[in-house]
Assembly symmetry: C2
């Protein structure tokens, strides 16, 4: 036991023992399965529920709860009928760089699938948030985000039609929107971001292919160009079991 | 319907209707309760489970699932035997400023309760992560974070004993550790942060007083002083239903 209370700061399953000493049974099993995952290594199939319940002499429901939490946390993932040891979470920088660049930097292949491209009149809330003019035409571009063909997130971008009037005809929806903006001579100046955890809605879960109520990381972004004019409002939803976000802070 | 697909970017309950049109019953109820919360306003008690199940003509279990998700998302909170409409999430800046400063800026009163202060030999993993020397004595300071007396998080700080040798005798554990460092003439230079969503362990849930398996935001920090020397490793766990984090990004 290297750390006090066995509380290693980065440990995947941290000490779960309450001070009163009553450890929930499923949690003890979870810690044991967690140790097993370390031995097995990424990509390998774990034993069946039945095998695990026999090995640890607990009910299958207890094993199921432990496995469910390990899946929610991204330590295990479902692969067809099997459950396999997951790799580490993708680490995206909180920066003005795009999703595309962040995923590439980790040696993964980014991709996107178009869900919808709509044109509508800027509502009051969006105008207040961004500085766009209420009633002006706005694009809403919704895309599923992919990493190595796996669906990992859902991105909604709101941008004034006046900025990119031909978005519906000359933009490839599976390409980088930021690269498209740059090609139009539009450069990012700054952005405000806010990150929170939310549960996937049934629609989102369906689009991303996750279990419903999986904890997600939701990033709100409002960005401006180099002249300080409103550029876009983005709502990016990432699988909480597959992503973490990093930032470098200076005084 | 202001937005395409009714997908307002900041809406508290977003459109949950899958394309195939089958809306889970609990989700339809959740959307109705969500609208009710807007009418009631912060701090007000919602009707009982029985009342809601009669009002929406669904089973109590259906109401329970809807309410459970709204609690997990921080839209409702338990208050004794009642369930009340929650206020907005606290928004902490991702910055070198302390928890204390972030909470104060929002007009709330920050506080901390000491869980433990231990001294131990720096293990390999911590040495690798921080640049501290393996085997050197290290403090582990664990505190519950409070906002207006409410328990909202749990913070573990690891710092070399050589840096703050009298931490166990002349530091008030309910005060700001960063203010203490400044008083010792130690100034922050930079830090790397990583943010992810995790489930609370039973021990953490007990210490923070949350339901187990509540989605939390976990922030890992490794910081250095102005000379670039390792300063601290922090693991801060925040209630996902009570906090969001913000950053300002520039090119």
């Amino acid at each position: 036991m290297d750390y006090p209370n066995d509380q290693a700061p980065g440990a995947p399953v941290r000490s779960g023992v309450p001070e009163h000493g009553r450890i929930p049974k499923y949690y003890a099993v979870k810690a044991q399965i967690s140790a097993l995952l370390e031995e097995l290594g990424e990509g390998n199939v774990i034993p069946t529920e039945r095998d695990l319940s026999e090995r640890y002499r607990v009910a299958r429901e207890t094993v199921r709860q432990a496995v469910r939490e390990l899946v929610l946390e991204g330590r295990l993932r479902r692969q067809g009928r099997n459950t396999v040891v997951a790799g580490p979470k993708l680490e995206q920088p909180l920066s003005l760089a795009s999703y595309t660049e962040g995923v590439r930097r980790q040696g993964r292949t980014p991709g996107r699938t178009l869900v919808s491209l709509d044109r509508f009149a800027c509502p009051k809330a969006l105008a207040d948030e961004t500085g766009l003019t209420r009633g002006d035409p706005v694009w809403h571009l919704e895309r599923v985000l992919l990493a190595d063909e796996e669906r990992v997130g859902l991105e909604s971008t709101y941008v004034a039609v006046a900025r990119v009037p031909r978005l519906d005809t000359d933009f490839e929806p599976d390409s980088s929107f930021y690269a498209y903006l740059r090609a139009q001579g539009i450069a990012f100046g700054d952005a405000d971001e806010r990150i929170e955890t939310v549960l996937a809605t049934p629609r989102e879960a369906l689009l991303i292919g996750t279990p419903p109520a999986l904890p997600m990381l939701l990033i709100h972004r409002v960005s401006r160009d180099t002249a300080g004019r409103p550029l876009e409002r983005v709502r990016s939803l990432y699988r909480g079991d597959r992503f973490s976000f990093s930032a470098h802070l200076t005084g």
